[in-house]
């Protein structure tokens, strides 16, 4: 396969089409606009459907409808737009339907700004919607990884009958890198969609898509069934990368483009003789708690680096189980941490410059 130079938003759209997505419902918001724009051009070429809905709420409910028919369907938005979609997302999770949701996130709260941010960690991993549900959440750090994970997301969504979120900050959406489109790394045995509302043809009982269950006994059974699925995800879907962990004195934890900046800091510190490692969660949910079991005995502290005021740090603390001090460095509002500032924080933790 040849590599093509693409903008992140467009590469994500192309990956979705490659994965067999034929329905896209969206509503404009910066910094993800090139994604629906790309879909509006490309969907008709593959006999697909693109609709610019009248609102985010409408778009996610169109996704709900299309997913109910068993179609591969996607929507995308950015932070406040994803907030608007939460009602639909919890309904889709409750009704056990597959779909892919892309969040090219920006600074908040409220309308916030349009520059890159990771302040939607809670929103995506702790449920922006109501009820006991989980999303499988992928956080790519490069465009190649974004493309791979989007293609995989459709399979994972079908396998679990659950919404899958791909979250990238504004940088992932806006930057250009070479990408190639390849088959998913994980081969999944996908179940037939015998639950889909495709018309009975008078030959079977109607399928019902619903998230309402007024009988508490029945709803609890449903909750337990969903939970079993989430437990399976926790067991099988955790992904992470470990970088230069050997003899590390400080272990950083960072995801998405922040992890790339953190890697630069790791490399710069290495040149100064300071050993720092990096745990990069690729799935935000399920969080790679088990990666923290592999932290070397040389480690004196953990450092969560985020483009937020500190959200993932909660999971870092859970993973740490009280063993090491957990420090934080973050920039917010669309400001991006520099490798220099991260390196300075590491030196600070180690008690001044060596």
């Amino acid at each position: 396969m040849t590599r093509i130079l693409m903008k992140g938003n467009e590469a994500i759209g192309a990956a979705a089409i490659k994965a067999g997505c034929r329905y896209f419902f969206g509503y404009p918001i910066t910094p993800q606009n090139e994604l629906p724009e790309f879909m509006s051009k490309e969907m008709p070429k593959v006999d697909g459907v693109y609709v610019q809905a009248e609102s985010e709420v409408a778009a996610i409910n169109m996704v709900y409808g299309a997913a109910g028919t068993g179609a591969r369907v996607m929507t995308s938005s950015s932070s406040p737009g994803i907030a608007l979609k939460q009602e639909g997302i919890t309904y889709i999770a409750g009704a056990e339907l597959p779909c892919v949701i892309v969040n090219i996130s920006r600074g908040g709260p409220g309308l916030g700004g349009i520059q890159p941010s990771q302040a939607d960690y809670f929103q995506s991993t702790r449920g922006g919607g109501n009820g006991d549900y989980r999303l499988l959440v992928y956080a790519p750090a490069s465009l190649q990884e974004a493309v791979d994970l989007v293609i995989e997301a459709f399979d994972a969504a079908d396998y679990y009958r659950n919404p899958v979120m791909v979250i990238g900050d504004g940088m992932i959406g806006q930057m250009m890198e070479p990408v190639e489109f390849r088959e998913p790394a994980t081969k999944r045995e996908l179940p037939t969609k015998d639950w889909a509302t495709t018309g009975t043809n008078s030959s079977r009982k109607p399928n019902i898509i619903n998230s309402l269950a007024l009988d508490p006994e029945e709803l609890e059974k449903h909750n337990i069934k969903l939970d079993k699925k989430y437990k399976e995800m926790e067991e099988k879907e955790v992904r992470y990368e470990m970088y230069k962990m050997e003899d590390a004195e400080v272990v950083m934890v960072a995801y998405g483009t922040t992890a790339r900046i953190a890697k630069n800091a790791v490399d710069a510190l290495e040149k100064e003789g300071i050993k720092v490692g990096l745990i990069r969660p690729i799935t935000l949910w399920p969080f790679p708690y088990k990666a923290f079991k592999e932290i070397p005995a040389t480690a004196k502290a953990l450092l969560s680096v985020e483009m937020s005021m500190g959200q993932m740090i909660d999971d870092v603390k859970i993973a740490n189980e009280g063993r090491l001090p957990v420090e934080f460095y973050g920039r917010a509002g669309g400001m991006i941490p520099t490798p220099e500032a991260i390196a300075a924080k590491v030196k600070d933790i180690l008690g001044g410059a060596k």
Binding site: R3, L5, Q115, Q174, M175, M176, P178, T257, I261, P339
Partner: protein
């Protein structure tokens, strides 16, 4: 060449984004690691537009260039003021002297003055001023070959724009000549 980190900046319409994309694409053609990161947002309307390009023989970490730019190519004065500080020591600043009278302030960088607008006008189209600057940059760094840039031009702009290739080649060459000395 190990790693080239270039910030290109100017006002909207000076072709800084496409100059960056051509360099990035050319790097990819040469099987190098590349990234292109644009500024986006309200500042693009009338203010400075800029992009950060990395072309490297090894894997690229962050696509952001902070204080370690190996080169800064500036098409207008606000860009020079904004980005000169991002250069690493011994980095190169390429200044469009047609629009910028000011000299580089830093003593620890190499400065080059290219009358890009004048040269572009001379060869018949102001819109290739960006290519004049790119030509100068390539002559200094050999980051990618001119042939790869032309190959990239064909890929990015398609067959419909192939008639513009001689003009763009000339712009690249004229820019190179300024810094060849």
């Amino acid at each position: 060449m190990s790693t080239e980190k270039i910030i290109m900046a100017g006002f909207g319409g000076q072709g800084v984004m496409s100059m960056g994309q051509l360099l990035t694409y050319a790097g990819m053609i040469e099987n190098k690691q590349v990234s292109w990161l644009p500024s986006y947002g309200p500042e693009m309307r009338g203010g400075t537009a800029n992009c950060s390009v990395i072309v490297s023989d090894s894997l690229i970490g962050s696509p952001i260039i902070t204080q370690d730019a190996t080169a800064v190519i500036v098409m207008n004065l606000p860009s020079l003021i904004k980005f000169e500080k991002n250069l690493r020591a011994n980095g190169r600043v390429l200044i469009n002297s047609s629009l910028i009278e000011k000299k580089a302030e830093r003593q620890d960088v190499e400065d080059y003055y290219i009358p890009a607008n004048e040269i572009a006008n001379e060869i018949g189209n102001l819109r290739v001023a960006n290519m004049v600057m790119l030509g100068a940059y390539l002559e200094l760094t050999k980051a990618v070959s001119v042939d790869s840039v032309i190959e990239a031009f064909k890929k990015v702009y398609g067959a419909g724009k192939e008639h513009l290739i001689p003009l763009n080649k000339e712009a690249l060459e004229r820019g190179a000549a300024v810094v060849r000395g």
